[in-house]
Subunit: 565 residues, 2 copies
């Protein structure tokens, strides 16, 4: 009976509420001790919670978030991941690109329209605060009377993250020191903010780890037998590529980053940081038991325990462990099925947005690991990025010409002579702050070209996220991109649109997008540490079409006095 | 020979350099891993060092510090402790009182005159950054041709601190949580940034503590036999009251907070956070060995190991341990000698600044521990302080009337009915942001009245620090201050002037100062955690006499757009 009550409560809170067209949130950000994986550490919370409150809205709604920064000495900024911010590029929440950070004690008001249904995320976009716990989910439903091209009984959201016991300060100091201390593998994988670290691990300081803390009770997804669930899965890992699986259940992929996918069935879903998917799962297995839901690290040889949740068949107890061992597949090093899933992702046939058949500009971006002044960095075409402290958007609108390097980064690299399978011959790169200026309303192709790292036989997966746009994923390939041959095989018929896409080890990924959203937009590897180490670029387009900027985004760097009450 | 070279080097760098009248420093603040007590943790450094670089200047010099904030997401501000900032109240460096914090990536220029010779300090004055390692010493020498009323061969500076292995964020989150997690006793006492934590302590995470790390080699003060040393000792502990002692050597106290003391001899010097003293020590003991210098926690029952340094008689090896056990005296709980030292501190007879014989206003400040909305706090007259995010100085000059509570805090408490020896009958207090407005050029008396904490039989020592002024210490007493009788016993003949003074357990301390420095000035307990928990007030005087404020201090709270390039 208690569980039924619990269940009804869950339904009540997760069914979209249809109320006004303006959804107003008041959030307070601060540090609190949390034990999401039984190990107590500081987390950045919103209204006392991590993950933060979900934003549940309907297409066309206006979201207002009054964000109060109650951190002691730290600023903050929040990005609305997947929301294109058409007409409101200043509320994209990207410190250094679209806004100044929000000072302790200050309240900043984000106001934007969610103009497309789908599954989105929000998270801090300043320093490495995202992985300190400052994130949550955004779910935008269809307008009344419209329906998706698939059917389900219930709708659930799950965010996957990885979790470190060191603070982001410690990690940042290690990553930016000459001696380079890598962050290592995460201590836990969290499913909807819950994980489980082994408190008997040697070397844990007494009192910090408590296996019986209710905060680390595994997340239970309670299902009614024979019902079909839309599971909206987002990944905001700091580092890890994941394989998500529900023991004994197939999943039908139906949505990716807010776009309908031509449905296909998987046993396990590969998901990279910054991506969202909707899968349909029917509770059609033996209802007398529970099942494991697991999230396993792939693409890196990690010894981190798989993240586990309980796929709980009502009326079984949600904390009753399944009688089986959790799934252990797939092997971390098996790239083929990951590439296959990427390629399988096509636009739903009833919802194809045809891409332009040609592009106006092609930018090839070689992804490399480098060394600059003795520090390990990541680069694009040998340039490693450091965000300036005067946001580009303001610098460009106000002609603050000294705020960043006026010369643009290159559209390619020394293509003919670069061996992507070897350690770079010359590991040196440079730090610059120049940006790509895109002609408004043109079509731009980006070729993400992967390569070997600074250690032999190692090429990593990088999930690249574009702010302010969705792009068409027009092609994937192995090895070095061939600019003559490969474009002939682009899928220009039914490519999926996304905002985040992986470039696989030693491979390339080709994207096409329309530079039609006036503003300044970051495009970066969504691995927190890689972006921190320089793996990103910035695009500008149509900035002349924007009216005056809200002064609330100003007040740092060269814009220190620009704020008007 | 190597040691002689070392010694010469030390002399070269510590003898005041007489160069121009402007001393220009460029400092970069960032996080780095340091092992000051053999345990590796993040520290805030200046140009890679903690303690930061010493400021060595001559009376009348202009100090310019260009402070670049290279922290990732944190702001910063630095206070010049003991420098009165006559004419430059905006460069006092107190976040929330005199300036907005300095944002990451920004450079702020402090410019002020050191108008009195003496021993001073600098340290962060934002959040609890001071105890993360952001501090250093200021030494101001006499003008050419003038000399002190005492003689010495060499001049040395030492800062004493206590050191915690938890981060300030963890401490702050614990202190401000409803469940109230006290910071506990420090892990180490550092002498000039060097301490020694026992790496064999159970529960230390592997790899964090390394007893052979050269960073935790004890500080060695190398002395030449028969020479006399002026030892400038400052305390910037977060919490601890200390007793400093050099085994087998007497110390003659000659300076306190920049004022000459009528010399007196001590075996051990009691020193509270925020105080500075000069003592003369002659190396007149057996020169064939070294001696311990030790700093012991008093006033709290602490199990922290004493801080140890080596008083190294040249040419003995500076790392050769003395053959004796370090001093263990005095007992932590023995209040009498601490009070006796306080009372013994008089102005040097040749340098008496006579205090006004009467005062215009008496403010009695009852120091209590309280509870507000379930949180543990410290209060003055039942008001616990929270710094607003619009600095008072700017709010007052620019009539930003909503920036803080316009009603002033009370000049006293319910005197007749308060039992200072008992747990408070009513532990509730309130949080307010109102300030004391002092009539310009008036004489103000402050009576700091100590009391019992919220637990029985416990009254702590609080060192109170006044910004922008020195005050005369006109009296100390035990028990409850009697406003009729006690003022008759004030020392109005030769009271010492100081900027920091202790109020002893269950006692009172009476101060007198001239409100003659136009500006807004904090007055607070110098224990980092107590100030964080509300133990402070703010004074304003003569603000109408100030010209326009530099806009570089603006840009936060209600002054967000006030900065002008």
């Amino acid at each position: 009976m208690k569980f039924l009550a619990y269940f009804v409560l869950v339904c009540f809170f997760t069914v979209p509420l249809v109320e006004g067209r303006v959804r107003h949130y008041k959030w307070e950000v601060k540090y609190e001790f949390k034990s999401p994986d039984c190990y107590k550490k500081l987390a950045i919370t919103i209204n006392g919670r991590t993950p933060g409150p979900s934003i549940i809205a309907q297409k066309g709604d206006t979201i207002i978030v009054e964000l109060k920064n109650s951190l002691l000495t730290e600023n903050v900024a929040i990005h609305w991941h997947g929301i294109r911010q058409v007409g409101t590029p200043w509320f994209d929440g990207t410190e250094g690109v679209t806004q100044c950070p929000i000072l302790p004690g200050n309240t900043f008001v984000y106001k934007f329209i969610v103009d497309r249904p789908g599954t989105y995320l929000y998270h801090a976009h300043y320093g490495m605060q995202r992985e300190a716990g400052l994130y949550g989910s955004i779910r935008v439903s269809l307008p009344d009377g419209e329906s998706e091209p698939f059917w389900y009984d219930y709708d659930r959201s799950i965010i996957l993250t990885d979790w470190y016991h060191n603070s982001t300060y410690e990690q940042a100091a290690g990553l930016s020191s000459k001696s380079f201390v890598w962050v290592g593998e995460p201590q836990s994988i969290l499913i909807q903010g819950k994980g489980r670290f082994d408190c008997s691990t040697p070397g844990i300081r007494a009192g910090l780890c408590n296996a019986t803390n209710p905060e680390c009770t595994p997340y239970a997804l309670t299902v009614i037998p024979q019902k079909t669930y839309r599971l909206r899965i987002g990944s905001l890992t700091a580092l890890s590529a994941l394989s998500f699986e529900i023991e004994g259940h197939n999943m039908t992929v139906v949505e990716a980053d807010g776009h309908y996918v031509e449905p296909f069935v998987v046993k396990n879903l590969f998901i990279y940081s910054g991506e969202t998917y909707s899968v349909l799962v029917t509770a059609n297995q033996d209802p007398s038991r529970n099942y494991w839901a697991s999230a396993k690290i792939v693409s890196r040889p990690s010894n981190t325990t798989n993240g586990l949740a309980i796929f709980n068949y009502y009326p079984n107890h949600p904390r009753r462990n399944p009688p089986t061992f959790p799934p252990l597949r797939p092997h971390w090093n098996d790239t083929e099925p990951r590439l296959a899933q990427s390629i399988a992702m096509k636009s739903h046939k009833g919802y194809i947005h045809p891409p332009p058949q040609t592009s106006d500009r092609v930018i090839v971006m070689l992804n490399t690991q480098n060394r600059i002044n003795g520090n390990v960095r990541w680069s694009v075409n040998n340039i490693s990025y450091n965000l300036p402290h005067t946001p580009y958007l303001i610098a460009l609108k106000h002609n603050l010409t000294h705020a960043f390097d006026p010369s643009p980064p290159p559209d390619g690299y020394n293509f003919a002579n670069y061996d992507i399978y070897s350690v770079p011959k010359n590991v040196n790169a440079t730090t610059r702050t120049g940006i790509y200026r895109l002609k408004f309303n043109t079509t731009v192709d980006i070729i993400l070209q992967n390569a070997n790292k600074m250690d032999p036989n190692n090429s990593e997966t990088h999930p690249w996220h574009l702010h302010g746009h969705d792009f068409w994923v027009v092609g994937y390939g192995k090895g070095k991109f061939d600019k003559t041959k490969d474009p002939k095989n682009y899928n220009l018929v039914n490519p999926i649109m996304k905002n985040t896409v992986a470039v696989h080890p030693y491979g390339w990924t080709a994207l096409r997008f329309l530079a039609n959203n006036p503003g300044v937009w970051a495009f970066h590897c969504h691995i927190e540490f890689h972006f921190f180490m320089g793996m990103g670029v910035v695009f500008e387009e149509g900035i002349e079409k924007l009216g005056s900027l809200p002064t609330s985004i100003m007040g740092c760097g060269d814009t220190k006095g620009f704020h008007r009450p």
